[in-house]
């Protein structure tokens, strides 16, 4: 293969980062995320077991569903029993709980926080409004389907879901993680361009890098 072609391919593999100003482009990575293949069967099984036992959740209450996370964290429902703990930063978290409706301004922060989380990462979406828009289906500022913007592993329906429903959802996610069915992160990287297209369609002032490493 000629050297020129390799350069061309390499250029296609890079992200354009067109939203950033010219002088800031050098400050951000332009590498594409790639999917991670599972290790051998036994090692992956062990890792999945370990992942399902330490579900650390990003404490970013994006909507009214967050109000039921507070009883869940405190003494009555006490989610620490299930190995769930809130973490303050995306870097330390493995689970993103999207608490209900996401306005356009929030979905930008959701995408950013989701990309900053380190893999493997899982998304739980609360409430009817993340499934099909719920009672805000005709609002000009809230999205209707969350799974067009980030991959979702578990939906918990209701407006708003009760803490018991949340615990059931977390337990279902735990089972799915142990069975190795939660491939949301790989889905995101495989269909990266499709997700980006959807995101950029609603986020009009895209002023961040294309992938927030």
């Amino acid at each position: 293969m000629k050297k020129k072609d390799i350069n061309e391919i390499e250029k296609q593999m890079k992200l354009a980062n067109e939203g950033l100003p010219e002088k800031e482009r050098a400050l951000f990575s332009d590498a594409r995320p790639s999917s991670v293949a599972p290790l051998n069967k036994y090692l992956e099984g062990f890792l999945n077991w370990a992942r399902s036992r330490s579900m650390w959740m990003l404490a970013f209450g994006t909507g009214c569903g967050a109000t039921e996370l507070r009883p869940l964290m405190t003494s009555r429902f006490d989610m620490s029993r299930f190995g769930i703990a809130p973490r303050p930063t995306p870097r330390q978290a493995a689970i993103f709980v999207v608490g209900g409706y996401a306005s356009i301004k929030t979905i930008k922060r959701i995408v950013r926080s989701y990309e900053e989380m380190q893999g493997p990462k899982y998304v739980i979406a609360l409430g009817s409004c993340t499934i099909n828009g719920g009672m805000y289906y005709d609002s000009y500022y809230t999205i209707n389907r969350l799974d067009y913007y980030i991959p979702v592993d578990i939906y918990i329906a209701g407006c708003m879901p009760r803490p018991e429903a949340l615990i059931a959802g977390f337990n279902r996610l735990k089972e799915k993680i142990r069975a190795g069915e939660c491939e949301g992160m790989n889905k995101y990287t495989d269909n990266f361009d499709w997700y980006k297209k959807n995101q950029k369609q609603i986020i009009k002032d895209w002023n961040m890098p294309d992938y927030n490493w």
Binding site: I104, K105, K108, I131, N132, G133, Y137, D138, S139, Y140, Y141, T142, I143, N144, R145, Y148, N198, Q201, I202, I203, K204, D205
Partner: protein, 185 residues
């Protein structure tokens, strides 16, 4: 309260004044008089608390109605001052010298209704919308359902029943339809 209204009527001409409840009055004034009447109410008549300021869009008449809701801590009465302004030349005086916190209402109305407030501080900053390219969304000629269907992906399977149509069909087919005021597109 009647005395206050009489005192105001001595000073300026009030177009419409209504008593809604014992503690709620409304009156309408001309656009040019608003600066005088608000400062008079604040300084002389103790209407010191501005509860809110909002706009109503009357698309058919080509007018915006602005409402300043004042409150008097001494006699515990709310007073709403309405002003009608032209929709085509949507511009209003900024009142930030009387109440410093009014700039946020003016910023909101500027963003959601597109009414200009020359001289108001930080009026051009974004409030809730980010990267908005359509017409100001609270105007009545903006159709939110159409925009939502165009922009966001609908999950198939959602059905909406207009309750009135449904009831008419199921329960009383012979009910004579009352003429309703349809909202314009």
């Amino acid at each position: 309260m009647e005395q206050i209204l009489n005192r105001i009527k001595d000073k300026i001409e009030i177009k419409i004044s209504t008593k809604k409840r014992d503690d709620l009055y409304f009156f309408t004034v001309e656009k040019e008089q608003i600066e005088f009447i608000l400062s008079y109410l604040k300084e002389q008549e103790n209407f010191t608390h501005l509860a809110f300021m909002q706009a109503v869009d009357y698309l058919e008449d080509g007018k915006f109605q602005l409402t300043y809701m004042l409150y008097n801590y001494k006699i515990h009465i709310n007073l709403g001052v309405n002003v009608l302004i032209d929709r085509k030349k949507a511009e209003m005086f900024s009142m930030h010298k009387l109440w410093p916190h009014i700039w946020q209402y003016q910023r909101e109305i500027h963003e959601l209704f597109g009414i200009n407030f020359p001289g108001s501080p930080r009026v051009n900053e974004s409030f809730v919308l980010e990267g908005w390219e359509e017409i100001p969304p609270m105007r009545r000629d903006f159709d939110t359902l159409e925009y939502s269907e165009k922009t966001f992906y609908q999950r198939p399977g959602r059905s909406t029943n207009d309750p009135k149509e449904y009831m008419k069909e199921k329960m009383y087919k012979n009910y004579a339809d009352t003429p309703t005021i349809r909202r314009e597109k």
